[in-house]
Assembly symmetry: C2
Homo-oligomer: 670 residues x 2
C-alpha cells in the first residue's frame, strides 16, 4: 500500500513538512495549496527537494468551487484552473483534487455539472494532468460520493476520476449518506485518489467536526478497515493518504506528528488485511456492512491489487512484569521513596549486581528503583514492563509500528531486556519472564504468585452488615499484584498515546471520562486488555499544565502505581503501623459517602479512621487509599470486591483536591 | 440586583473560591457539592468563613435524580436528601437545587412526580429549608421550564419553587423548547433561584455544550437581557447567580475569573435595565419575544421588584488617540524601532519634558515610545489610547465595570491622563483631546487631520486597468491615520477580553475567523465601533504558545499597528527609498494572486516589486504591506479602496509564514 500524507496535517513550513514526512517513511505527500503559496521555495525547488527526499508529490489540493455555476464564472474558473495545471507541470504533480462547490454554486443541474467537469478534464488532459473529483460532506448540491461518482461517470473523460475521502463519506452515515459498501460499484481505475481520516463520533456540525477534530486512523471511531476493504475490492492500487485537520497536530512538532501518522497507516493496513482475510479476500463485503442485494451490481468484481502488508502477530500482554521509577541515587527524595515502599509492605530484594538499581517486591508486584537519574531529578515513573509470550516478535512488531528501540547496554551474563520508547518518553519493556530478578541481591527467586488477587468477600457493605474480613497480612502480601498504572499525558500527545498503546501493545481504549480537579478538568482514558490483566489509565492534564515532560513535579501530573491486595483494611492497618504517610481524606467525604450509600456505622468508622475511599456499583465494591506523593510518584492500594471493574472515579475529585492541598501546604512550608 | 456565582465556575479549593468571589464583590455564592465534599473545611468552618467575607451562601447544589422513580428508590432518595438538609442547616443555607432526573427516572407520570416533589418539600420544611426545582435540558422526562413549573404548581407546597437557568431554557429554543417569555406566567415568589450563563451558538449535543462551553454573560450569543427582563417582570428579587461550566475558567486564576464574572453581571444588569426601560418597565414584554396573546394570562402582572443598577452612559470612542510602545531606553532594539518609524515616514516630535518618552507622528497616527521599560525588555505594545467625549465619565464607568485604574504620577502643569488595565496587561487610556502633545519637544501642535483617509481611487485593479494612482507622499502623510491595532491574547483570556472591550469600550465583536499559521490555527476576533473609527483585532495564539504575557518575543504573539494611507504604492516606494525592512513575500503568492484575480501585469509587477499584499471583495479592494518585527511589534500599512471593510484575511497565512521564516532565520544566525 502506497502511503501518503497531506502537508496540512503537519505544522511548520512546506520544507519542514516534506522533511518530516520523508523521515517518517511516507511514500508521498499531498501538497496543500496554502503551504506552497506561503513558501519561499519555487515549484522547481519543491520538486527537487521531494526528489532528493525520495518523496512522491502525489496530489495538488484543493481546487474549489468549479461546478454548478453560470457560464461566465465557469470560464473564469477554467482560467484559474489552467494556472494551477501549469503550476502542477512545474511541480511534477499529476493529479489535482477538485471539491464539489460550496461557495458559488447556483445551478442545480447534473447535466451542466457533468459538462463542466468534462470541460475541466479536457483542459487537464491538454496539460498532461488529471482531476480527482470529491464530494464535500457540506457541498451545496453534491455532498455524497455516489452523486459525485454519477457525475464522473456522466462526464465520461479519461482524465476525470473520483477522490474518496473517509471523513466525507463516513461522517454522513448518521445523516442519511450512502453506505461505504457502494464504493465497490466504482471501477478501481476510476478511483484517482483515496484520503483517510478518523474522527471521534461527535454530534457537532459536520464542517467544524471536519476542520478541527479529525484524527489519524485508530485514534477515532470510524470503521476504516471496513472502508479500505471496499476500496481494495475496486482494484484501486494508488496512494492511501492521510488528510487530517486537527488543531493539536497543527501546532505540534511535525517530525513527531509524522511518526504518529505513519504508525496509524501501518496499523490500518494490517487491520484491513485482517478484515479482508476474514471476509474472504476479494469476495463479498462483510455481511453487516453490505448494501441491499443488487444495488451495486459490480461489487466485488475487481481483484485486490493493493498489497497490504501485515505485521508479526502477537497476543496482548498477560500482565505487568515490573514498573521502574527513576531518581537520583541517594538523594533525600529517593530515600523517602524507599521508606514509602517499605511502609507499604514492599520487601527490598537488594541491589543490581552492576548498577545502582534496586528491586522491591510485594507479592507479584515489582518496583525497580533506578538510581541512575540525573542530579536533582525527583522520582518519576520511567518504564513499564509487560509480560508477553514472545519478546523478540513483540519488539519487532513495535519497531515496524515505528516505535524507537531504547538503547541498552547489558553486561556479559545478564538478561537482555528489550524496550521501546512510548510517546510520553517512558520506556516500554517487553519481557518473557522475570529471570532478570536473579541479578539482584543474593539472586531473587520469582516465587510470587502471578495469579490475580481475587477477593473472597463479595458481600456489600450495606448498613448493618459487617465490613469485609479477609486473610492476614502475610497472605495479603503474597497475593498482591499491580492492578493498574496511571500515567499523566500532555494534551498534545493524547491521541498519539491512545494509538501507540492500542497498536503496539494491543490494549483496548475504554470510554473516556472527565474528572474535576482544583486545577481544571482531567480527562481519564483507560486502556486495558480484554482479561484486565493489564490496565493502564492515561490522565490528560489540563492544558495550562501540559507543557511538561516526564519527571516534572506537578500535582495533576503526578503518576501512580496501584497495588491490588485481597484485604485492604488489614493491609492499611499494617501500613499505618509502619508509619506510612496516607493521603488525608476530608471528613465531609465520609458524610457524603454515608448519604449516598448508607454504610454500616462501624465500617464507615473504619474508612474514616484509615483514610480509605469507597465506591460501589451494580457489580461490586471498591476500596482504596493513596499515599503521599514523592517526587511525581505516589501509590494506591486497592481491593476489588465482586465484579467491580472501575477505578473509583467518583472519588477522583477528592484525591485531586487532597493532593492540591498537600502541595499548597508543602509550598507554604518552603 | 443580588449577584451570585456558583463555586464550580472557579478553579482552586473551596476556600480559594470563596475568597475570590468575595474579593470581586459578589453578594453570594452557590456551594457546589463536590467543592464541599473535597474540602478540609467543616460545614461550620465554611459558614464562619463566608460570614467573615460578608458572602451569602445562597444555594446548595445539585441534588440529582429524585423524581419519577419507584417507591423504594424514592424513599432512599428522601433519606439521601435528609442528610443534605441537615448539612444545609450546619452551613446556614436555605435553598437547595433539585434537578430533574436524568439517570434513574423510570416512571413517566406527572401526578407521581408532583407527589414525590411534595414529599420532598415537606421534608425540607421540617428541616427549615426549601427546594428549587429545575428542568435540565437533557432530563429524561422533565426537560423544559414550563413542565417543571407545572409540576411545582401541582405539588403545591410553600417550600417548593422553581429554579430558572438561562442555559437550560435558551439552549432548547432551537429544538422546540418553550419561549422564555413564558417565565412571566410564574409568580415571582415561586421563583426560588435564577442561574445565568451565556454560550456561543454551537450545533453540539446539549450536554457537551453545557458542560464545556458555557461562558459569562456577554461572552456568548444568548439574549440574556431579554431573559432577565422576563424574570424581573415576575416580581422576582432574589439572587441572579452565574453557573458557568467552562474548561478554561476551571483552570485559570480564580481571582481573575471572578472579576471577569462580576463584570459580566454588572454589564448584564445595565443591559437589562435598558431593555426594560425601552419596553416600558413592568409593561408587556418586547413585541419580538412575546408569546401568542393569551398563552400566559398572568404575564406582566407583577411589579419589577428587582433594583437594576445602571452605569454612567458613554458613547463609543471616536478614534485612536495614540498607541504606546514600551521598551528599554537606548537599547539596540529601541534604536531599531526608532529607525523603523522614521523609515515608515513618522516624524519625531521630540522627548517628553520630564520623562524618557518620545512622540512620533504620521498624519493623525501617533506612536509614543516609552523608554521606561525594564532592562532587557524588548519593544512591545503597552497602551492604547482612545478618543472619548468625556474621559472622567468613561473612566468612572470602566471602574464600575471592575476595571483597575492604572496608577500614574503627573508633574505639576502636565495633562492628567487616565487609564485602566485591559485583561492582557496593556493600559487603556481614555482621552478627550491631544493636549498632552504639548509636553513633547518644543510643544507640538495637534495639526494633523483626524478625518479618516478616504481613498479617491475606487477602480478595481482588473486585468488591463492601471494601478491606483493617488496623491503624493506629502498629502499621503497628512491623511494617514491608525486603521487598526492587532493585539495578541493568550487563549485563557479570550472570552474575558471580548467582554472587556465590549462592556468598557462599547466595541462590537465581529464574527471570528481561524487563520492557519506554521505554528497552528490563530483565531482572529475583530472588535470595532459601528462607524469603524476604532478597529481592534484580537489574535488568539495557539495553545502551545499561550503561556506568555505581554512583551514576550514570539512569532504568533507579535502585535502590530496598522496605518491607513490614501496611496499605498507611493507610500511604499518612499519607505523603500528610506531603507524600510519590508516583510518579504514569496513569489508563489503573486502567482496565486494572479490565478485568483487576473490582475493587470503592470500592477502585479508593482505588488511583487514592493512586497505588497492584495485582496478584493464585492465592496472594494485592499492593499497592504508589513514591516519586519522589532521586539514583539511590527507595523502594517494599508489602503482601503471603495467599501472594503476587512483585513486581508486570505493573506494572513502568508504573513504568518513569512514571519515564521524570518524568526527561524534570525534564530539560526544567533
Amino acid at each position: 500500500m502506497r502511503t501518503g500524507i497531506a502537508t496540512v496535517c503537519l505544522s511548520g513550513t512546506l520544507e519542514e513538512k516534506l522533511r518530516a514526512a520523508a523521515k517518517a517513511g511516507f511514500d508521498g505527500v499531498e501538497v496543500f495549496e496554502t503551504d506552497l503559496v506561503t513558501s519561499p521555495l519555487s515549484p522547481e525547488d519543491v520538486r527537487a527537494l521531494a526528489a532528493d527526499l525520495a518523496l512522491g508529490l502525489d496530489l495538488y489540493q484543493p481546487f474549489r468551487d468549479l461546478d454548478s455555476v453560470p457560464d461566465g464564472l465557469y470560464r473564469a474558473n477554467l482560467r484559474r484552473a489552467e494556472a494551477k495545471f501549469r503550476l502542477m507541470g512545474r511541480l511534477g504533480i499529476e493529479t489535482i483534487l477538485v471539491c464539489s462547490n460550496v461557495a458559488t454554486a447556483s445551478i442545480d443541474d447534473d447535466a451542466l455539472r457533468a459538462e463542466q467537469l468534462h470541460g475541466l478534464a479536457q483542459l487537464a488532459a491538454d496539460h498532461g494532468v488529471r482531476v480527482a473529483y470529491e464530494a464535500l460532506a457540506w457541498g451545496t448540491y453534491v455532498n455524497d460520493f455516489e452523486h459525485a461518482w454519477r457525475l464522473v461517470e456522466a462526464a465520461d473523460h479519461p482524465s476525470l476520476g473520483a477522490c474518496l475521502d473517509t471523513f466525507h463519506i463516513l461522517s454522513r452515515l448518521s445523516s442519511g449518506g450512502p453506505d461505504a459498501a457502494g464504493i465497490e460499484a466504482i471501477p478501481g481505475e476510476k478511483v484517482f485518489f483515496v484520503q483517510v481520516a478518523d474522527a471521534p463520533k461527535l454530534s457537532l456540525d459536520v464542517l467544524s467536526w471536519s476542520r478541527h477534530h479529525r484524527v489519524f486512523p485508530g485514534e477515532g471511531q470510524f470503521d476504516l478497515p471496513g472502508f479500505l476493504g471496499h476500496v481494495a475490492r475496486t482494484g484501486y492500487n494508488g496512494p492511501v493518504s492521510l488528510e487530517v485537520f486537527n488543531d493539536t497536530f497543527r501546532q505540534s512538532d511535525p517530525e513527531r506528528t509524522a511518526v504518529d501518522a505513519i504508525r496509524s497507516l501501518v496499523s490500518l493496513e494490517e487491520r484491513t488485511a485482517q478484515r479482508l482475510a476474514l471476509s474472504g479476500g476479494t469476495g463479498a463485503p462483510d455481511a453487516g456492512a453490505c448494501p441491499p442485494a443488487g444495488s451495486h451490481p459490480s461489487a466485488g468484481s475487481y481483484p485486490v491489487a493493493m498489497r497490504l502488508r501485515t505485521l508479526p502477530e502477537v497476543a496482548p500482554p498477560t500482565g505487568v512484569n515490573f514498573v521502574e521509577v527513576m531518581s537520583e541515587g541517594g538523594a533525600p527524595l529517593t530515600r523517602s521513596l524507599e521508606r514509602l515502599l517499605a511502609q507499604l509492605g514492599f520487601a527490598s530484594r537488594g541491589e543490581h549486581r552492576t548498577k545502582p538499581v534496586s528491586l522491591w517486591t510485594l507479592g507479584g508486584a515489582r518496583v525497580v528503583l533506578n538510581g541512575q537519574g540525573a542530579r536533582g531529578v525527583a522520582p518519576a515513573v520511567s518504564a513499564l514492563a509487560f509480560d508477553v509470550e514472545d519478546a523478540v516478535t513483540a519488539v519487532a512488531r513495535a519497531v515496524q509500528l515505528k516505535a524507537t528501540p531504547v538503547p541498552r547496554a547489558s553486561q556479559a551474563g545478564e538478561e537482555v531486556l528489550q524496550a521501546v520508547w512510548a510517546p510520553d518518553g517512558s520506556a516500554v519493556f517487553l519481557c518473557q519472564d522475570a529471570r532478570w530478578m536473579r541479578e539482584f541481591g543474593e539472586g531473587v527467586h520469582d516465587d510470587a504468585s502471578r495469579t490475580p488477587a481475587g477477593s473472597s468477600t463479595p458481600a456489600a457493605h450495606a448498613r448493618g452488615e459487617a465490613p469485609a474480613g479477609g486473610a492476614g497480612p502475610a497472605s495479603s502480601a503474597h497475593a498482591a499484584r499491580i492492578d493498574h498504572i496511571n500515567l499523566a499525558q500532555p494534551w498534545q500527545h493524547y491521541d498519539e498515546a491512545v494509538l501507540f498503546y492500542s497498536s503496539v501493545l494491543a490494549l483496548t481504549p475504554q470510554p473516556s471520562l472527565d474528572v474535576s480537579s482544583p486545577a481544571g478538568l482531567v480527562r481519564s482514558q483507560v486502556m486495558q486488555t480484554g482479561d484486565q490483566a493489564v490496565r493502564l489509565a492515561l490522565n490528560l492534564a489540563p492544558w495550562g499544565q501540559a507543557d511538561s515532560v516526564r519527571g516534572t513535579v506537578q500535582d495533576t501530573f503526578a503518576e501512580h502505581i496501584a497495588i491490588e491486595v485481597p484485604d485492604l483494611v488489614t493491609h492499611a492497618r499494617a501500613c499505618r503501623r509502619r508509619g506510612l504517610p496516607f493521603l488525608p481524606i476530608p471528613a465531609n467525604y465520609y458524610e457524603d459517602l454515608d448519604a449516598r450509600f448508607g454504610l454500616a456505622p462501624e465500617f464507615l468508622g473504619t474508612l474514616r479512621e484509615l483514610d480509605l475511599l469507597y465506591d460501589r456499583d451494580a457489580e461490586g465494591e471498591f476500596l482504596h487509599f493513596y499515599t503521599a506523593t514523592v517526587g511525581s510518584v505516589f501509590f494506591e492500594v486497592v481491593q476489588r470486591v465482586g465484579g467491580y471493574d472501575g477505578y473509583g472515579a467518583p472519588n477522583a475529585p477528592v484525591r485531586h483536591a487532597a493532593q492540591h492541598l498537600a502541595r499548597t501546604e508543602q509550598a507554604a512550608r518552603r
